[in-house]
Symmetry: C2
Subunit: 192 residues, 2 copies
Amino acid sequence: MSVQERKARERAERERLIVATARELAEQQGWDAVTTRRLAERIEYSQPVLYSHFRGKREIIGAVALEGAAEMAVAMRAAASGASGPRDRVAALARAYLDFAARNPAVYDALFQLDGGLAYAREDTPEPLKDAFAALLESLGEVAGDGVEPGLFTEVFWASLHGLATLTRAGRLPPEDIEPRVELLVDRLAAL
Amino acid sequence: MSVQERKARERAERERLIVATARELAEQQGWDAVTTRRLAERIEYSQPVLYSHFRGKREIIGAVALEGAAEMAVAMRAAASGASGPRDRVAALARAYLDFAARNPAVYDALFQLDGGLAYAREDTPEPLKDAFAALLESLGEVAGDGVEPGLFTEVFWASLHGLATLTRAGRLPPEDIEPRVELLVDRLAAL
DNA sequence: TCGATTGTCTAGCGATGCTAGGATCAATTC
DNA sequence: GAATTGATCCTAGCATCGCTAGACAATCGA
């Protein structure tokens, strides 16, 4: 059995290598630069090897997205735990979210802009995605206010952050004034 | 001179045809289906003709975006003018915005998701884009609240709508509950 | 009527995602 | 220890993409 185990281990290792390399390449030069040829060359295998791990480029994007979702959940919880009151917590969360999007644009794109073939907001949604949403809900639910369903509130708050993140990075919003925008959003949207 | 005028007219007409066809094709089958070959075939000219009107596919997307921006501005002002009070106006605006995005997904993508080679939020931003933002500002500025710059408020409100629009259409948010989301957004964000 | 200009097309380049089919190497069996 | 089997990987190629060079034809000014 040991031989098969070793092979399985090596295979899993190579899969991690593919995902990590795709992510690295995407962060360095954008997702357009992540071609199957370039990716294959970087991992020092031929192109078809990629297709023995993933159905296609879409699934590779999806794998990067899942990895990113897990990291985002960690970052959100870390930001929330370092705050004292609800107001602080929500503000810290918002900043951490925008910071994550700005620092990991390729991962953020894989998560929320590109088609990674993942199911969102459904029962069969992969666990990391559910958990990332849960991490938001943990901090935002408490400021939903009376008569507002925490899930609904989280969706709206999240959408607002997403809008700010994407419009800013796409050059649709001037990059300065990020802080006052966050202040406005938190002060108005959260029921404190 | 009449001959030249006729030629210029025909040329302009063909350019409109290209943009309209690109838009139609994009709405029917998505922007991925808008290839230069298919587009050329539909307008019944050869591929290189496209390049005598536009620098490339990007510019065609940009042209569709400008057309869409003008329509959006009209739709926003129409929605705003039919409302009685500020609360009504902002709510109507929000609904009209999301409705526009849902009904014209390809145009919306050209405007805010794809790269159409346009400058946003700058001095050299094309007029239709500035005007679309102005249309939002006209209705939203009055509910910015004390001490909040109307432009900043409009940016945040717009970003929230944009987040809702894109996340919903990309399947990241369940399509139902649109109305309660709008209600929540309007009630909380607008200073009434 | 003739040369020049403008307009359009055919053909092709490099690159993309993806796949078929053959070669190679290791594990298994006699 | 040799032969067979099976998994693993690579070379080569397909159709399609955005874009362009160069040939050809129609039109214009003299």
